[in-house]
Symmetry: C2
Subunit: 240 residues, 2 copies
DNA sequence: AAGTGGTCTAGACCACAAA
DNA sequence: TTGTGGTCTAGACCACTTC
């Protein structure tokens, strides 16, 4: 259950205490030296935990002053990471959201899919097309492709729930990072069929290229959002 | 000129060597132990530089194997950072881009601007409205607000060039991080006046909340993009 | 078994902020 | 001057990959 890494445990503990109000917004955390006593560890290990907290937007480090607790309540959306649908679900409340699987099966990659997955055409891939209904309206269409080599087995039932829970939980796939591209495209017939688009004739397309720890690309997903329901939040550090 | 921090110097050096092909894509960097000899420093310092490289998307660390050099040529857009217009300019070639200043001056923040800047109404702010013309078409409208307290002096001429060059170069403002929100909104009359919108009746709005190192918010900028010309790329690490 | 990156330590010196 | 976070060191042990 608990993380094996000391600095991650400390990060988890501190982020919990920030979220439950033990450490309130705009207050200063105990100093690094104090924390290293509290957690009975070295200062560098504390610093690793604090660096994580800063990267996730929980604190802001101020040289000579301390670590300022930021206002996490302002940030309801995931912070600069994979926007897996599961996160969206938990932040909105599960009951209002429905997932429909429209297409599910194995196929050979055509040229277009192959180029997105940086693989050869004819490679076997799972294709999954799902729509997401929120508060009664179908507003997101997810088109996903997974390399069969990495995901040997998949069912429609899994796709109706959380694919990521399965990939990370059951398959224990070492998922590492994703490149995301956001563009706007004109609606396709498929969009019109599976989404409640009203008057809109464009969709916001979020393209996700998901890599494993060994840097191989194994998933390409296109999330097509109705314009008025799209929102993306990114909490970015300065370049350097 | 040169960065004072050893690990940043090493980062700069390695990223240069990756970009100029000294270390080619898909090859493995010298090991951490080798690098610590090459740069005559400790392994932890090398690791800091490598961590930076990984965060910026230059390499992928593989436990037990080494640091894999990624294909940087694929990423033309800024990586998960401030998309300052200057970066956009340099990546597209300066000549094709024109900036027009439509509004420039001091004002007292109204309630709307004040709430975005998390300050009180009546606070003095600079308001700058600029359009960006790329290859002959006006496609981005930037509405910026700067707190006068942080930016005491500003001219129209500065706004016609790079405000950030001025803020960081002349004023030496310690700019640290930005929260970004992306949404789609219906066009306003202002959009129609300053942009070549053709048939489009929506714009992609990128809201930038820019903070200083002491965590104070000092700028709010809304970049309003014509739908078809918008593109956002984010290279994100996994949550943990 | 040897080499790699990942974690952790105990100490040092520095730059910055506040009293 | 004191306390803070930022950098750096030299060494240790671990987990993983490769041979």
């Amino acid at each position: 259950m608990t993380k094996s890494n000391k600095y991650k445990q400390i990060f988890e503990d501190l982020s919990k205490k920030i979220q439950d109000g033990t450490y309130t917004a705009n207050s200063i955390l105990p100093s690094e030296n104090e924390l290293s006593v509290i957690y009975a560890t070295s200062r560098e290990t504390i610093r690793k935990a604090l660096t994580l907290l800063a990267q996730k937007g929980f604190i802001q480090k101020l040289r000579g002053k301390g670590s300022l607790v930021l206002d996490v309540s302002r940030m309801s959306f995931p912070i600069s990471g994979l926007v897996s649908f599961k996160e969206l679900q938990t932040s909105m409340g599960r009951d209002q959201i429905e997932t429909y699987v429209h297409e599910f099966g194995l196929m050979r990659a055509d040229d277009q899919v192959a180029s997105q997955l940086e693989t050869s055409a004819k490679e076997e891939v799972w294709k999954v097309v799902r729509s997401r209904q929120i508060s009664g309206e179908r507003i997101i269409l997810d088109k996903s492709y997974f390399l069969k080599e990495q995901v040997p087995f998949l069912t429609k039932e899994i796709c109706e729930n959380s694919i990521y829970e399965y990939l990370e939980g059951e398959l224990e796939l070492p998922i590492d990072f994703a490149k995301k591209e956001i563009v706007v495209e004109e609606c396709t017939d498929e969009d019109r069929e599976y989404l409640d688009l009203d008057k809109y004739d464009h969709v916001v397309v979020v393209k996700n290229f998901v890599h494993l720890k060994d840097a191989t690309l194994f998933e390409y997903t296109e999330s097509r959002h109705r314009l008025d329901m799209f929102r993306f939040v990114d909490f970015a550090r300065r370049k350097h």
